[in-house]
């Protein structure tokens, strides 16, 4: 299962790869990373239909924001699940995300246990 993580903080990649070390090792999970909304769209466009089934995106990013990315993904690939991860867990962002079709809304610092639950639920 291929999951795309979008965040402008590059260290997120290392963190996720270590957190899901076992899942990656036994081949259950494949992680790809993008560091901006535009890059995320390019990753999704690499194959048609995209192999990515789930996108986790940060909201606060320069250029395209996570909410804009959410709209774009939902418009182009409505089958892909998108969840938001944001440092700003305010109701404004939350409502916007849910209204635009976000599956879940995670706040930073990320609770990896709940994130793992979410991914596991999808895998089964």
């Amino acid at each position: 299962m291929k999951i795309l993580i979008v965040d402008d903080e590059k260290d997120v990649e290392m963190l996720f790869r270590q957190k899901f070390r076992k899942e990656i090792k036994n081949g259950n999970l494949e992680l790809v990373f993008a560091f901006s909304g535009a890059e995320a769209m390019r990753v999704l466009e690499e194959s048609n239909p995209p192999k990515v089934v789930y996108v986790f995106s940060d909201i606060n990013m320069p250029g395209m924001t996570g909410l804009e990315l959410l709209d774009k993904i939902k418009e182009k690939y409505p089958q892909i699940n998108v969840s938001m991860i944001s440092a700003y867990g305010d109701s404004d962002n939350y409502n916007k995300a849910i209204k635009s079709g976000a599956k879940e809304f995670f706040t930073k610092p990320i609770n990896f246990d709940s994130l793992r639950e979410e991914i596991k639920a999808l895998m089964n």
């Binding site: 903080e9 260290d11 290392m14 963190l15 270590q18 957190k19 070390r21 606060n60 320069p62 250029g63 395209m64 924001t65 804009e68 440092a87 700003y88 404004d92 962002n93 930073k108 610092p109 990320i110 990896f112």
Partner: protein
């Protein structure tokens, strides 16, 4: 006929009259008055034959002698000499004929004709002298009047002068009062300015707080996440060890080392932000330091971006940063240079955001696709006032600055922001700070395309600097 008393009377009368500016003192006037009384009394007494002819003649001569003596010897009467000269021949001839008549009446008879002719000439002399002296007197009188006129004018001028002096004194007092009021106002303005500079500093710090919170939260999250994951890795490592999977243990150990490095990196990042914030708010002690403008630019760009994001959810802008890795350091006050860069970044984001807000209302779809972008770049200037220099460019693709206000934007209190949103001091203070560091702050702007601010500063030759 007795001439002596009449002549004496005429002399006394004319002596009393002032000629030109020279007037007779009251004391002398009194004496002359008495002389005249004596002369008139004598004449009256002679006419009524109460006094002998000889005595009246003698009194008349005595008066004349007195007058002649006075005119010759007393300075006050020097001006009346001509009068004496006019009548003197008449007197002399009269005295001579009297003496002759007295000494020898026979001789007098033979000489009478001659004496009459002499008397006649003396009379003509006296009359012509009188005319001349009258003419002179008139001229002198005219002069006196002129002098009086001048005196009057002088007095008027004097009084005007006095009046003017009063006015000048009043004005001076008023001006002194105004000067004092202005000085007070100036002092008040100076203290207000200090307060405003502080307010401006605090306002820009206020804009930063949300950004700072975010920027500190982010590295802290990483510190927490990496330490958590490291803890998990150690458990896994122990499991792998008990299984004897040495290769796997080695891989985990590598990850652990990396994680610790990351924890350290993000810890330092948070530390730098807190230090930067403290530096920004600390009142300037004027201490110069070596400043790494790359680090300042990078830090404040992020702070500003996140600060604005936190304040205004609709705000978003792309930004890029192009740093020259070999940028010379700059000797300066880090918090001041930081303030300048922060101010320019905030302005750039404000400009693109304003354009972005307007773009959404545009009907033209080409304008709706406006993509806000701010770029900050640093580069080395090979020759800046004889040494290496530093250039920081800050570009935005906002609406640009209209030509007519370009010259005003560095003026204190000039702002295009709505009331209450800008102090109008940001750019003015920035300009002063850069000038105080021996640099320049310039701008290029094209309406509809955007604005670029350029800071140039003298660099420090690091090969010579011992740190």
């Amino acid at each position: 006929m007795n001439f002596e008393n009449i002549i004496a009377l005429i002399l006394l009368y004319y002596l009393r009259k002032p000629i030109g500016v020279a007037a007779i003192s009251p004391e002398w006037k009194n004496w002359l008055k008495w002389g005249m009384i004596v002369a008139v009394t004598t004449l009256v007494l002679q006419a009524t034959n109460l006094l002998p002819d000889l005595l009246t003649k003698f009194i008349g001569l005595a008066l004349i002698a007195g007058v002649v003596y006075a005119v010759v010897n007393i300075e006050d009467f020097h001006g009346r000499r001509s009068l004496v000269y006019a009548l003197l021949p008449l007197i002399v001839i009269s005295v001579i004929s009297d003496i002759i008549e007295f000494v020898s009446p026979n001789w007098y008879k033979t000489l009478e004709y001659l004496l009459d002719i002499a008397g006649f000439f003396a009379l003509i002399w006296a009359i012509s002298m009188w005319f001349i002296s009258r003419k002179q007197r008139k001229a002198l009188e005219l002069e006196r009047k002129k002098a009086e006129e001048r005196e009057k004018e002088f007095r008027i001028t004097e009084s005007l002068k006095a009046e003017l002096e009063v006015q000048v004194a009043e004005r001076t007092a008023a001006l002194t009062q105004q000067k004092e009021a202005l000085e007070k106002a100036l002092n008040e303005l100076k203290s207000t300015q200090t307060q405003l500079i502080h307010a401006e500093k605090m306002a820009s710090l206020g804009e930063l707080t949300a950004g700072i919170a975010h920027e500190i939260q982010n590295p802290l999250n990483f510190v927490n996440n990496f330490s958590e994951v490291s803890h998990e890795l150690i458990q896994e490592m122990q499991e792998e060890l008990s299984k004897g999977e040495i290769e796997e243990v080695k891989a985990i150990a590598m990850d652990l080392a990396q994680n610790l490095e990351k924890i350290n990196h993000h810890g330092k990042r948070a530390d730098a932000i807190v230090k930067g914030m403290l530096q920004h708010s600390r009142s300037n002690d004027g201490k110069k330091d070596l400043c790494d403008l790359n680090a300042i630019a990078d830090e404040y760009l992020r702070l500003s971006y996140h600060g604005l994001r936190a304040k205004d959810k609709s705000f978003n802008s792309d930004f890029s940063i192009e740093l020259d890795p070999d940028l010379p350091k700059v000797e300066g006050i880090p918090q001041e240079l930081g303030r300048v860069i922060l101010n320019l970044i905030n302005n750039a984001f404000y400009a693109v955001n304003e354009r972005s807000k307007n773009a959404k209302d545009e009907k033209d779809p080409n304008l709706q696709t406006y993509k806000p972008k701010v770029t900050i770049s640093t580069s080395t200037i090979p020759d800046f006032k004889g040494k290496k220099g530093v250039k920081i460019s800050l570009s935005d693709n906002g609406s640009g600055i209209p030509e007519n206000i370009r010259s005003k934007i560095f003026q204190p209190f000039f702002t295009t922001k709505p009331t209450g949103q800008g102090t109008g001091l940001g750019l003015s203070l920035s300009y002063d700070i850069i000038k105080a560091h021996g640099g320049n702050l310039t701008l290029k702007s094209k309406e509809g395309l955007g604005t670029t601010f350029e800071i140039t500063l003298p660099g420090v030759d690091q090969s010579r600097k011992v740190l």
